[in-house]
């Protein structure tokens, strides 16, 4: 399989603050890769450098194909309120003739099950439906890579399951290459073919794990699968979940010290 995305020694620094400290990884064609890391570890910076919104301080991002698409976490602010659902999905297709634009938008809306909502305005839809519009917009653009920035972090749990399964279905049906950035360990294991675990900032690659689960996944059975549970624990350990960070230990020590000073013995 060929590589769709190659990231080589990617690093980014804002002033003195190093957000990403040299990342190297690839995403193969048709693969769904999840990037998981502690919050504030530079995941957003990574996504912004890959999407070309910011130029990285060092390193290389090379995409096989002309363009990528992004689905942002905040669907409400990412959809154009003055356009209809159809208009939003057509937005990236401006260079195409009108008829083809129409057809592609209609098709993408069918894929996400929103064929009937084409004439509505985004704000007339529920949150989950709005995020489906954003996904349809990204798919209609036929990107070499679909980048998703915490795509399901702003919807309720039920909707989140629905959208996860929708993503798995459309990417299987249309052979889309996807890179999902998330802080949710369960989600990364459930969605991914591979998981990239990042360290705290500056973000470095801690592990590159294959997900040993069948391609067909199910919200109930997959999540109770032994392989799922084992991998989830592994990622959690890698991310140091549940253990106090060094800072917390320092604070605790300082607090104990101050207490022993004030408490009369």
């Amino acid at each position: 399989m060929s590589n769709m995305l190659e990231v080589a020694d990617l690093g980014h620094t804002y002033g003195d603050y190093e957000a990403i400290g040299g990342l190297t990884f690839t995403v193969r064609a048709g693969e769904l890769v999840c990037v998981v890391g502690p919050s504030g570890c530079g995941k957003s910076t990574l996504l912004r450098t890959i999407s070309g919104l910011i130029t990285p301080s060092r390193g290389d991002v090379s995409l096989k194909g002309s363009h990528l698409a992004v689905v942002f976490q905040d669907y409400q602010r990412s959809l154009f309120p003055w356009l209809t659902v159809q208009g939003n999905v057509e937005f990236p297709l401006r260079s195409l003739p009108r008829a083809e634009r129409r057809a592609r938008a209609a098709e993408a809306l069918e894929w996400v099950g929103l064929g009937k909502a084409a004439k509505k305005r985004p704000w007339q839809l529920s949150g989950g439906m709005q995020q489906r519009v954003a996904i349809a917009r990204a798919l209609a653009y036929r990107p070499a890579l679909l980048l998703m920035d915490e795509p399901f972090a702003s919807v309720d749990a039920q909707t989140r399951f629905e959208l996860e399964d929708l993503l798995l279905r459309v990417r299987r049906e249309h052979d889309t290459t996807v890179l999902v950035v998330t802080h949710d360990i369960d989600e990364s294991v459930y969605l991914g073919d591979r998981i990239l675990v990042l360290s705290n900032s500056p973000a470095r690659l801690v592990a590159d794990l294959d997900v040993p689960l069948p391609a067909e996944r199910d919200q109930v059975t997959t999540r109770t699968d032994e392989a799922f549970v084992a991998l989830r624990s592994k990622v959690a350990r890698l991310l140091n979940v549940g253990k106090p960070s060094i800072d917390v230990e320092k604070w605790a020590a300082a607090e104990r010290e101050s207490l022993s000073e004030t408490v009369p013995s």
Binding site: G52, L53, D74, S78
Partner: protein, 247 residues
Amino acid sequence: MRAFTRGLIGIAGFLALWELLGRSPLLPADALPPPSLVFGELVTQLTSSEFISHVVATVLAVLIAIGIAIAIAVPSGLVLGSVPAVRHATRAVIEFLRPIPSVALIPLALVMLGFGPETKITLAVYAALWPILFNTIYALDELDPLLVETSRVFGTGRVGVLFRVALPSALPFVLTGIRLAATTALIVMVSVELMAGSEIGLGYFIMEARSGPGRMDQVLVGTVVAGAIGVLLNNGLERIRRRWVAW
């Protein structure tokens, strides 16, 4: 419906008060003709082609002034709002020009432009520019960066972002600016007609009615009609805003 009824009661109360005041001995005779007289005169005037031509002249001049103000202020606002360098360079001049009352510019305008309709239109444009300009700049400040990033990710260039994202997203603010500007333009228009320059228009009609025959009922007819034009402009533009900008 209750709000509508209350509105009617309010208007009826106002008219009753006016009627009482007009007929009371507190004011000199004929200084404030009561509404019963004024509305009679209004009906007479509305059938007079001369009065209608005054009204049309004012309304037309106001509409032209709003159109010119939009054509100047919206593009300027887009430039000032998206190019910080231009905005900083012009800030001092704008802060100086903005508070100058249009009416204070009448002598200057008369000398520069003469006594034709250019003068009153220019002064109304001057007054109407500011609300549109500032609302456009403000709207660009409020432009959501995520919308811009979304459009950039989908291959939209700088100019594309300006026209396909910044301008539509600014539209609600711009329309509010236009609505405020319309009322201002009307006020300035009638004031300039009243004070100088014009041979036609509602302001001129009011002035003539007072200084010639001293017909206060006609003066008030002019006033009432000016108010009605203001209400119609305001409501019409508000309706357009709601229709176009539902979000």
